[in-house]
């Protein structure tokens, strides 16, 4: 009805809104139900982590990284410590690398479960898929508790390895989880993937093409859903990923359903990786002797890992002191919302919610 003239309505979605996944604000201009314009407003959770890092020693910064992407602390820890290791030239024992990979993949599963659950909650499924996802996530968090005594803010990795070896009861728990999880994932998938309402809502909604995704520096499941087969675990293998056998799932169209589906498939691949790690993990030390106050030589280093949200990189500049001269975080959540406006315009309000949900941002990482 293009002849119908109506007055646009400006609506503030957030900072307190059930579906903004934190304190995020979208200034949206609606024409009826249709989005005409959208402007992301962020910074409500800005804590100045990069500035804080300039006043802390290299080990102390690990606690800051926990609080960036708080749904995937392990990946943040991993990205940060790899960067420090690159900067200071620290070797990591093999067993520590295996444990790191296990942790990172478990964290990926946990993060993707959360993303999937909340996406379905945004679709209006009254928390049932969310609860199923959280049920499985709980078990991963329990395993993290066995490793390091915390569930969310882990502070588990250190430059030169991991803090502590896994306790004896960790391995049986991990085995049970790895054996059970594909079954649970099947269950969650049969609740969601074939559901016609989900398909109607998500198919062809919020399409992001491959060229646009690359141009907007988008990484992670969003990029892969657009059909770009790019994963740092294969493209630039870190730790022991070059020894492992796994696939990089991609999507066909780059719509919201693809972004959901890529995450589900990635969880299955992660289970494969964890299985191989359990099989291959050697005995040995888990940490090289690094001093508490590391003094890397002057210079800079950038190391990135494939976090559940995308390419998470830490750029550290050292002046030879005990704390970095500059610490920059390439936060995937922050950069992934660059194309948000282009994806939203023209869709309905309900689509806005699910497109935004399918990007899977964490405000701790967006605002840092």
């Amino acid at each position: 009805m293009s002849e119908m003239k109506s007055e646009p309505v400006i609506l503030n979605l957030g900072p307190q809104h059930p579906s903004t996944h934190g304190v995020f604000r979208l200034r949206v201009t609606f024409d009826g139900e249709t989005v005409v314009d959208a402007e992301p407003v962020m910074g409500y959770l800005h804590r100045g982590s990069e500035k804080l890092a300039e006043g802390r020693s290299y080990v102390q910064i690990v606690t800051l990284t926990d609080r960036m992407d708080y749904t995937a602390s392990m990946s943040n820890n991993l990205a940060y410590v790899s960067s420090v290791e690159k900067l200071a030239g620290i070797d990591v024992p093999e067993r520590a690398q295996y444990i790191r990979v296990i942790c990172a993949e478990l964290q990926r599963i946990a993060s993707h479960l959360m993303a999937t659950g909340f996406l379905l909650n945004d679709l209006g499924a009254l928390a049932t898929p969310l609860m199923y996802c959280f049920r499985e996530r709980e078990r991963i968090l329990d395993m993290f508790e066995m490793l390091c005594g915390a569930r969310i803010t882990l502070t588990y990795m250190r430059p030169g390895g991991v803090l502590q070896d896994a306790p004896a009861e960790f391995w049986p728990a991990l085995n049970t989880f790895v054996n059970d999880f594909p079954g649970y994932l099947d269950e969650i998938e049969s609740l969601i993937s074939g559901n016609e309402i989900v398909l109607t809502r998500t198919r062809d909604v919020g399409i992001l093409t491959d060229a646009q995704a690359i141009n907007a520096s988008i990484t992670g499941p969003m990029l892969r859903a657009a059909g770009v087969q790019w994963d740092l675990r294969k493209a630039n293998p870190y730790e022991i990923y070059d020894r492992l056998d796994f696939d990089i799932p991609i999507g066909a169209l780059g719509d919201t359903f693809d972004r959901y589906m890529v995450r589900v498939l990635e969880m299955r691949e992660s289970i494969k990786i964890v299985e191989q790690c359990i099989r291959d993990i050697p005995q040995g030390p888990i940490r090289t002797g690094t001093p508490y106050f590391i003094r890397p030589p002057a210079g800079d280093a950038y190391a990135s890992v494939e976090s559940p949200k995308g390419e998470l990189g830490f750029y550290l500049v050292s002046d030879g002191g005990i704390s970095p001269y500059r610490c920059h975080v390439r936060a995937p959540s922050f950069i992934n919302i660059t194309a948000l406006r282009d994806m939203l315009v023209g869709w309905k309000m309900s689509d806005l919610i699910i497109i935004f949900g399918s990007i899977d941002i964490v405000l701790g990482e967006v605002d840092r």
Binding site: M131, G227, V228, D231, P249, I250, K348
Partner: protein
């Protein structure tokens, strides 16, 4: 007194009771007393029933979600609704500064009253609370449409954009779904050959959901839209609008909205039981009221089962579903039923025998299956197969140094 023994308390017997004690010329007082007592009973039964229903829904959905549901207050958490009401009662009752106070205050009442009014005419036994209303079906269709006004009033008076959007969605949706709902009930009226709910129950030698399954499905879909529950809960859409049209409400007014909202499935189940599940009819020796409650229970369970499982549709998809899907199906149902009734009914009395109904059931099931398959074909015309993912040529992560 006889009617009390026959099964239920109705207005006439209560009136007779008071009239017996009061002197002549005080009929008006007996009338007032009887009316007051009956409405007191209706309101209390419905509010208590709704409270129990909320407990039941939360427990069952909790189980379905691998949670426990309310379990702290009283045996199995049965006192939880009371705790909720107490909490809402002591909350501050806020009205937005720019709100239209009168409309804002009256909206919850407008939403609650129709649900209670419907109960007055439901045949729970041989008689209703209000007596035999010979246009019961019409009354139901008319009175349940009033909630559209309440939704609009609440949303508009709040001066809140979320509430306004919710209200606008609500009006569009509720008005649309009135049509398939009324049309699906028309099929019932055609077979029963009467607008009286008693005759509808009496005509159900075979429950009407067996006789006209298409009409039943349309009715259930339309009804769940009317009470704005998943997959049609666009009015509230808590992930989009916060709380939809009652975003700005708090305290007791919010409680009344919630009461009306949770009374809706109860009322819908009761109406569906009367119209499609043969009301109080059942097999002896179990009394009819028990059968009635059982049937209501089953329908309620089905509704909340759906609520716990499915996500929500988008507003334009909901509207399309109403006008392109349900409307067509309801019309087809009326057409088929009308032809069958015309051919099968007794020309003099207009009655249908049980064997006639079974014959109709057989035909209509065939029609239903064919129609739904056809609809699925039309609506699912976008084939669900997705293209095979092929890696984009813009990236090659295996590229090596040249």
């Amino acid at each position: 007194m006889e009617s009390l023994q026959a099964g239920f308390l109705d207005f006439h017997s209560v009136y007779g009771f008071f009239d017996f004690f009061l002197p002549d010329g005080m009929d008006w007082l007996a009338f007032v007393l009887a009316g007051g007592l009956v409405s007191f009973i209706v309101i209390n039964v419905m509010v208590m029933g709704t409270g129990l229903y909320t407990w039941f829904e939360r427990r069952v959905i909790g189980r379905m979600q691998a949670r426990l549901g309310p379990n702290r207050w009283g045996p199995f958490g049965l006192l939880q609704p009371i705790a909720d009401v107490l909490k809402l009662m002591v909350k501050e009752d806020t009205v937005p500064a720019l709100a239209d106070r009168l409309v804002f205050n009256i909206a919850p009442v407008i939403l609650l009253v129709p649900a209670l009014l419907v109960i007055a005419i439901i045949p729970f036994g041989d008689d209703t609370f209000l007596g035999r209303l010979n246009i019961g079906v019409l009354f139901i269709i008319g009175i349940t449409s009033v909630n559209t006004i309440a939704v609009l009033a609440g949303g508009w008076a709040s001066r809140n954009k979320y509430a306004m959007i919710g209200a606008m969605r609500g009006v569009a949706m509720l008005v649309s779904y009135e049509v398939p709902m009324a049309l699906s009930i028309t099929g019932v009226v055609l077979i029963a050959n009467s607008l009286s709910l008693f005759d509808v129950v009496a005509a159900q030698g075979v429950p009407f959901w067996l006789v006209q399954p298409l009409g039943f499905l349309v009715f259930m879909a339309a009804a769940s839209a009317e009470m704005s529950r998943t997959p049609f809960d666009q009015i509230e859409a808590e992930s989009e609008l916060g709380a939809g049209y009652h975003t700005e409400y708090s305290g007791m007014k919010f409680a009344i909205f919630q009461l009306a909202e949770f009374m809706a499935p109860l009322v819908t189940s009761i109406i569906a039981t009367v119209l499609f599940f043969s009301g109080t009819r059942g097999w002896d020796p179990i009394p009819g009221q028990i059968w009635f409650v059982l049937k209501v229970f089953v329908i309620m369970f089905a509704l909340l089962w759906v609520r716990a499982t499915w996500p929500r549709l988008r507003i334009d998809q909901i509207m399309a579903f109403a006008w392109k899907g349900l409307f067509a199906m309801a019309l087809l149902n009326i057409f088929v039923v009308a032809v069958e009734v015309m051919l099968l009914q007794d020309p003099n009395t207009g009655a249908l025998t049980t064997s006639d109904l079974w014959l109709m059931a057989a035909i209509n099931w065939g029609v239903t299956v064919v129609t739904i398959a056809f609809m699925a074909k039309v609506f699912g015309s976008k084939q669900w197969e997705r293209p095979v993912p092929t890696p984009s040529p813009l990236a090659n992560m295996y590229a090596e140094a040249d």
